[in-house]
Symmetry: C2
Subunit: 327 residues, 2 copies
């Protein structure tokens, strides 16, 4: 089939879109601002505008097999409904897949960010050649996607795969927005990393650290990027925080391996760009904390798709291995 | 098809076997001692002896469609090899499925206890009518089985579904045999319950509890059964231990629901016989500790199959919905 797929990645600040061919090549790519602060009508118009442009770039709708859309959760991929994402104000119970499909007379599907990114890594990225993969994206939150037999596992209500909200510390003082305590998102995502650095510096006033200078003496302004910079300069506090982040992620992933016995784990998102020191610690921690005797041989791969992962992911839900995705 | 399936449940003390028809009815059931202490040859002979008896009861091998065997892990259901179960001394890397199949000229398959029990609950027990189920058995350990689309999820090496070794307390002083700390098996299975009661009584010497009498003053002899008895008599310590067990299991299951968004959870095993006080606490804890907004509506069901669950489970791996199990 010569038809291409339109992939649309709706974010809080921009809507990215592209045309992906059946071989998984991104042959066209465009971006428009979301104007999320102007409410649903305005930001939805931006989505429609972008799809229109991509349809023209494709030479008309007869050359397009479908429109895949990914957006931040909560949403229901089975019904195509966006529930109420915190960073898209005014988007409440929007039947996005149905509306877009009707607007253009083309099949349209909706998927959440992390699931789509995980599928994209399996079809086009770091996990090509694998079928059963546990995907993780660590940035301001921890998103995960469960890919089984090259398909996204959705569960009953379409909201499976929320591994970021699995706790490894039921006695933790840190409560997540989801209600639980000590889940890996609360402990190891960007804000959790920054908090751990802050607590360490506040508890030990005399501990020397370039983080104090980088944050201009204001511990509350420490960011994951500062921690990464400081660690590169050899700062001990920053290195300890990165090391602990790797331990926490590795400990949590050990449990995921006990459950899923996956062929591979893929880790993406901003925090994963820390690279080798983080991955080394994750890889050395995992085998010590799982019953799975093959854990040391389970590849823990850095994600390959970066800026366009959302567009690839949105398109992926329409490509061959995604066709029979559970509904 | 009028053919029946032979189900064999190999345990440390007895081998239970039965004939199950295609409608899931147990039409014949027999038990022989395992003689595990006499080594592999002797206990394997018991398995073969029992299968022979069941074949005769079926009226010959032309009336039997296959032999399903479940055994304690670790084992590999994909290759049919028993690795080295702690309670079957001398069973090391035994190609059990192949050996049994050859012995009788019939197809034979191997599955681990918890997976088989979970599938049996879906096909014949508490979860009939559901496709995607998370099964838990709590006794001296915590075993789990992940059933997706009425099939056991095996993972790459055949050892997926080990949810009992997922930790909810990475800072726990309690180390599990698997190497990790604070997994739900270490915290909430029978020995974990008994340990928590013992610690409570040892730390507070003046705390009154009938558990002291039941254990004849020897805190190290407190058993889960004693805790259950004492709780029925209104004992506060015992009730607190059961309550905490329900909380721990509920907290852990909340994470499983975030991951799997299952249609139902089924809980079996000796500890589950505590019944209502335990299930009430589990059910009230789950929705507070998951991002899944449907968690309060996810049924948490007591297992239905009891004494013969192993035989049903072993047969289940040959019955229709099990036929296409991933390999």
């Amino acid at each position: 089939m010569g038809q291409k797929i339109i992939g649309i990645d709706v974010g809080g600040t921009k809507v990215a879109g592209g045309l992906v061919d059946r071989k998984g090549r991104l042959v066209e790519s465009q971006i428009v601002p979301t104007h999320a602060d102007k409410g649903f009508d305005k930001s939805y118009a931006q989505v429609i505008h972008l799809i229109g442009r991509l349809l023209r770039a494709a030479g008309g709708k007869e050359n397009v097999g479908g429109i895949g859309i990914c957006a931040p959760g909560p949403l229901n991929p089975k019904t195509g409904v966006v529930l109420n994402p915190p960073n898209l104000p005014g988007w409440r119970n929007i039947e996005l897949a149905k509306m877009v499909g009707k607007e253009f007379g083309l099949p349209a599907r909706l998927e959440n960010d992390a699931n789509a990114a995980g599928l994209a890594e399996v079809l086009f990225g770091a996990a090509v050649g694998y079928k059963d993969v546990f995907y993780v994206t660590v940035s301001t939150g921890v998103g995960t996607g469960i890919i089984i037999n090259r398909k996204i596992y959705h569960g009953k209500n379409g909201i499976a795969g929320e591994g970021g909200h699995v706790s490894i510390d039921y006695r933790s003082p840190y409560r997540c927005g989801c209600g639980t305590y000590g889940d890996i998102e609360a402990l190891a995502a960007g804000p959790g990393m920054a908090r751990r650095a802050r607590v360490m510096l506040e508890q030990e006033h005399n501990l020397p650290s370039v983080l104090r200078e980088l944050a201009h003496g204001r511990a509350e302004e420490i960011s994951p990027l500062m921690i990464q910079q400081a660690a590169r300069q050899g700062d001990r506090v920053a290195k300890a925080i990165l090391d602990e982040t790797g331990f926490l992620l590795g400990f949590w992933l050990a449990g995921m391996i006990s459950l899923f016995d996956p062929e591979a784990i893929v880790i993406g998102g901003g925090v994963s760009h820390i690279g080798k020191p983080l991955f080394d610690k994750i890889r050395s921690t995992i085998p010590k904390h799982t019953i799975n005797g093959f854990a040391a041989q389970t590849p823990v791969l850095p994600a390959k798709l970066r800026t366009n992962v959302g567009v690839y992911g949105a398109a992926a839900i329409f490509l061959p291995a995604g066709e029979e995705a559970e509904s």
